[in-house]
Chain length 236, copies 2
Amino acid sequence: MVTKQVTLDQAWSGGNIDCLSCSIRSSALLSGLTEQDFEQMHEPVEQLDMQPGEVLYKVGDPGRHLFTLRSGLIKLVQYLPDGTPRIVRLMRSSDTIGLEILVAEQYEHEAVVLRATGLCRYPKEAVSRFNQTNPVFHKDLMLRWQKALSDADTWLTQLSTGPAKKRMANLLLRLKEENSTDCFLFSREDIGSILSITIETASRTISEFKRTGLMKEIRHNHYALDVEGLTRLIES
Amino acid sequence: MVTKQVTLDQAWSGGNIDCLSCSIRSSALLSGLTEQDFEQMHEPVEQLDMQPGEVLYKVGDPGRHLFTLRSGLIKLVQYLPDGTPRIVRLMRSSDTIGLEILVAEQYEHEAVVLRATGLCRYPKEAVSRFNQTNPVFHKDLMLRWQKALSDADTWLTQLSTGPAKKRMANLLLRLKEENSTDCFLFSREDIGSILSITIETASRTISEFKRTGLMKEIRHNHYALDVEGLTRLIES
DNA sequence: CGATGAATTGACATGACTCAACAACTGTGG
DNA sequence: CCACAGTTGTTGAGTCATGTCAATTCATCG
């Protein structure tokens, strides 16, 4: 994990790491804040770069920071009583993770990097204070909370209900890049843990989709989707 | 649906319907508010009594009110693209439903009464204003949001993952009354829609549990659970 | 009492899991 | 550069769990 500290100065100046003119500003957690807000922060914002497999935090870790993804992909995992891991959400660019620590002491998930990820780290206290003093920030935070909830419902209805083929089709369309038919997959084990199926079933389903033309492998784990066909499969 | 209006007077006076001394006050949405807060409300709080089968709202209905359950049981339903209904959460006493309208225009679920339910109805504008002006209220609202999210995760991991028997065992323990082994069930169709299994599988699983002594039918849809045994089943 | 819908049960088909063999890919050391 | 081991993905055969369809019982209510 590589970290880069953002000093108060840099955070709102024209420096390299610059929250005020951040490229994902409109969707970043600290968008809408003023110079003064940043001046009040005791602990700096930091930027992290993480590689696949690295663990951001685990269930029960004391939570002192929230994070916003600038790029990449992170899985949130919970474990069943019998030890089976279950991926409960995927977080992508502009998503915020660790919201729970605003009202709890510990993280509720294990956060593991799936694809090289850049993120910004905010101290809990600062976020909490902004939330209480800045109405725009506060509204934005509620939006993020609601989005998380809404995502959780979709996860349940689309990825955890019905036969494996429909679930897989839903996952593929969900992982599809905007304005394109491209889709990047990851390990069969992770796919299984998302759809609650075995790696064999995941592999077989993908093979069948390839055979029937619903997807074409461009290169390793990179596919072109037949969006029409997959949509029809879901709705049938 | 029976409604009883709470006038400004009643809301904070010693009247019959009295938010300030409400019996579930510590867990009700408007706990922590002062006389002055109630004076600011343009539209009154109302109490509703609803019977099984009645629909509180549907997906896409314009959302103008939030609700807190005083008693009873309500299911939140979403529909799959192919029309299958899926129960995504069960709401019980002291739970708040309709949070989404604080940041969205419409309800995201269909809310249907499963057991005779009493609830309080709050106008969206008032809740929104309290949220911005009253720090305690605001903190409470965040707690509710986080609880909903946490519940959604549990729903996914416990009730939608693994074999039907384990899911059923989890559901039974979740429906169990506090400090007792009693458990009230509802229609097999609803159980199926919670666990994402067919009504036949639901029925068969319950029959098997009765045969193997994991539960005993006291009267219609009222059971005594073998908590130990069910827990063992889940963890195996 | 009969009529209706819900729940149960049985017989069978099918989808998903298990176990096992093998293939493809990755990284390491010679 | 190759040989090798370790890991991940694929495929096949057999089993088991769940879904499907149908028949029957049960509960409720007029």
